[in-house]
């Protein structure tokens, strides 16, 4: 009998604890709202409360923790809960949004995804942060659904996309200038191969490597057609454009892929980012495709003596089209329904406008600053990238006109093309259909 009673009690206790577990999602402290109104003046030192920051890009975790430490001196009353993850950030974010636990600061990609999270994002226009934000970054934060207005995010970093190459190998092969046309590139590959090096390492196992390569070709196709990249992408989304109408895509890009496979890794679809970095840093391969500013630190960690060069993709026979691409491919949003919005805004404004915050980008995080700044950088890709864009101009950040859903599908289509399971024309047909299906209409 005793046992029965005991188990009944245990059952009840377990059921109860399960219940309380579900209800313990605590709402924001009641005091937070009041303090947000008090702090309307924008004076951060009087702020109090919590900022919940849930963002991707864990590679900057150390730098952001340093930033948060520094902010404690400015606003002692503010606690910043910083959380980051590498894997599956979008899924985790969606789970949080749906359970009503909207982070005060959260990330997405820039451009098209700004609209996806529009309902949750605060329009930063008119905030002090806009005074220092790089216009190229700000343009990727506008909402196309609202007619290209507003600024619904800010960036941790700008970025450079292009070919990362090994200067020593180029020198050994007797190539003094980086090839800027398709035929010059083919020549260079012959010379490099003759010296016993692999001309390319491709990373084609990663779907995102493809988007970083084809965006230069999309830009060239738009230029040749006399329209903007955004207009060209819109035409594909509406299903009005055909890949075969644009020789830059139909001929040049597929020839580029064929060459990358011919002169590249022995097992192209098995080479992922880390194998690509290893092949490049160990001096086996002369050029790295689909990468940009973010690989430099990793490669130097493997081989500190590496002499890194950086240039745009040779996409046509016109050397002027060989441009690096700059811009910001990710965005941090401020939740517009934040319980202590002003506290969050003060932090964000301080990040972009204070002397410490401005210097943080280059000195602590070591990134391409997303702000108007002439601070020098130690990184070769950033130095050469900014020199090249000053000299020849930089291409539009075409990847941000489409969602990653589309880029991932396109990467899979191109992988099938490289694997030989589909022909070039089949690949083009799938690209036309899927682009309209995924990014069109909705």
């Amino acid at each position: 009998m005793k046992k029965k009673v005991l188990s009944a009690i245990l059952c009840a206790a377990m059921a109860l604890s399960a219940l309380t577990g579900c209800t313990s999602v605590a709402p924001a402290p009641a005091g937070a709202e009041a303090s947000a109104e008090d702090a309307g003046s924008g004076d951060a030192s009087a702020d109090s409360g919590e900022i919940y920051m849930f963002i991707s890009s864990p590679e900057y975790a150390d730098a952001i923790n340093t930033l948060i430490e520094e902010y404690k001196n400015v606003a002692p009353g503010v606690t910043i809960n910083y959380e980051t993850t590498q894997n599956d950030y979008p899924t985790l974010l969606k789970a949080k949004l749906n359970s009503g636990e909207v982070p005060d600061i959260f990330s997405s990609t820039s451009g098209k995804e700004i609209d996806t999270y529009l309902e949750y994002s605060y329009d930063l226009s008119g905030e002090p942060i806009m005074d220092t934000m790089d216009p190229a970054v700000a343009s990727a934060m506008a909402s196309t659904a609202n007619g290209g207005t507003g600024c619904y995010g800010f960036a941790i970093k700008g970025n450079y996309f292009g070919v990362v190459y090994n200067k020593d190998i180029f020198e050994e092969a007797g190539i003094t200038e980086f090839p800027e046309t398709v035929s010059a590139l083919a020549d260079a590959c012959e010379k490099i191969e003759a010296k016993g090096y692999k001309p390319f390492t491709t990373g084609f196992a990663e779907w995102w490597v493809f988007k970083h390569t084809y965006q230069s070709f999309v830009n060239a196709a738009a230029d040749a057609a006399g329209i903007s990249t955004a207009e060209l992408v819109a035409k594909f989304e509406k299903g009005e454009a055909k890949v075969s109408d644009y020789p830059e895509l139909y001929e040049n890009y597929f020839a580029f892929l064929d060459n990358a496979v011919k002169y590249g890794d022995a097992k192209p679809l098995e080479t992922d980012l880390s194998s690509e970095e290893a092949a490049f840093a160990n001096g086996e391969a002369a050029m790295m495709l689909g990468q940009g500013a973010w690989v430099e630190a990793d490669c130097l960690a493997i081989n500190p003596d590496l002499k890194i060069g950086f240039a745009g993709y040779p996409v046509t026979e016109d050397a002027a089209e060989c441009k690096v691409i700059s811009g910001s491919d990710q965005a941090l949003h401020v939740s517009k329904d934040s319980a202590n919005l002003q506290t969050v805004l003060n932090f964000v404004n301080w990040w972009y406008t204070s002397d410490y915050g401005k210097a943080w980008f280059t000195e602590v995080a070591g990134v391409v600053p997303p702000i108007v700044s002439d601070a020098p950088s130690d990184f070769e890709v950033i130095k050469q990238g900014s020199a090249l864009s000053a000299e020849k101009g930089s291409g539009a950040l075409a990847i941000c006109y489409s969602t990653d859903s589309w880029h991932q599908t396109c990467g899979q289509i191109l992988q099938s093309y490289i694997a030989g399971t589909i022909t070039k024309d089949e690949a083009c047909k799938q690209i036309e259909e899927q682009w309209a299906a995924i990014d069109g209409a909705k």
Binding site: M14, A205, A266
Partner: protein, 284 residues
């Protein structure tokens, strides 16, 4: 009274974690929702119509999953049974070997996936340079026709230990006297196995086939770790397709519709197999 109270906590948790989410995804399958917007839009059966339309890749992933499941069921059961027969005998180190085969099963699928990814990519390369054996130089994860076998092989390798344990338990339950009687009657070892051991293993076989069927149909993490469904869409299982549609493509409604369809599909398949298997069992 007692039965009710005792099952209540479990019932409560299962309701919270399984039934309610199931009903919710039933509702979401009738909506157009990206998983982010505050209000889903009700669109009736349009999602299901899209899945049966021509452009959908859903059917292709079902085909892959069925292939995988078949491969997985056949090989994990055959190998597990063979190993179990060998390991059920009493010999020195039998326990050690049983342990060895069980170790992969207690490791997380993701870790097993990453270990094998490393073996396929770096290990094989090194072995090729040492031995010169041609098959080691194939692109096991990068070639669409080979990737299927790599994924299925790792799946079988990982879960083999589990089925071995089930079969050993089944073998131990077979009364020795029947086997001895068969020997006295002059049965060969082959006859002993196929006429006595295998029929009496019926319940174990049913359990193992059923478990391998559901595990095969649920395959997800091992593929994600090894190939991410690539190259192209060569190793895309239905579970990955649902995940991709709902979370990557932001079509939560369509993803839910796929999940519901797949649920019905799995329900029918498993019931059919269970019906067939239990009809073949024999009693002593």
């Amino acid at each position: 009274m007692e039965t009710l109270v005792f099952t209540l906590p479990a019932l409560f948790l299962v309701t919270m974690m399984m039934y309610i989410p199931f009903l919710m995804s039933g509702y979401y399958s009738l909506t157009e929702w990206n998983g982010i917007a505050k209000e889903p839009v009700f669109i009736g059966l349009a999602n299901f119509r899209e899945l049966f339309g021509s452009g959908s890749s859903f059917a292709g992933t079902i085909f892959f999953t069925l292939n995988y499941t078949l491969f997985f069921m056949v090989f994990s059961n055959i190998f597990a049974l063979a190993l179990a027969v060998a390991l059920a005998k009493k010999f020195r180190g039998a326990n050690v070997f049983r342990g060895l085969f069980f170790v992969p099963y207690i490791m997380s699928m993701t870790i097993v996936g990453f270990i094998w990814k490393f073996i396929f990519m770096k290990g094989f390369e090194k072995l090729f340079s040492l031995t010169g054996l041609g098959f080691l130089n194939l692109s096991w994860l990068g070639d669409p026709s080979l990737a299927f076998y790599s994924v299925a092989f790792v799946g079988v390798w990982q879960s083999l230990g589990f089925y071995v344990v089930l079969y050993i338990a089944g073998l131990k339950a077979i009364p020795e006297d029947i086997l001895e009687a068969a020997v006295v009657d002059g049965a060969t070892p082959m006859q002993k196995f196929f006429r006595i051991t295998l029929p009496l293993l019926g319940p174990s076989v049913t359990t193992c086939i059923f478990m391998s069927l559901t595990n095969g149909l649920k395959v997800f993490d091992i593929i994600l770790a090894l190939t991410k469904g690539g190259p192209g869409k060569a190793t895309y299982s239905t579970t990955m397709q649902i995940y991709q549609e709902a979370f990557t493509n932001n079509n939560y409604g369509l993803g839910s519709a796929e999940a519901i369809l797949y649920f019905i599909f799995v329900l029918i398949t498993t019931q059919l197999v269970l019906r067939i298997m239990s009809r073949r069992e024999v009693d002593l």
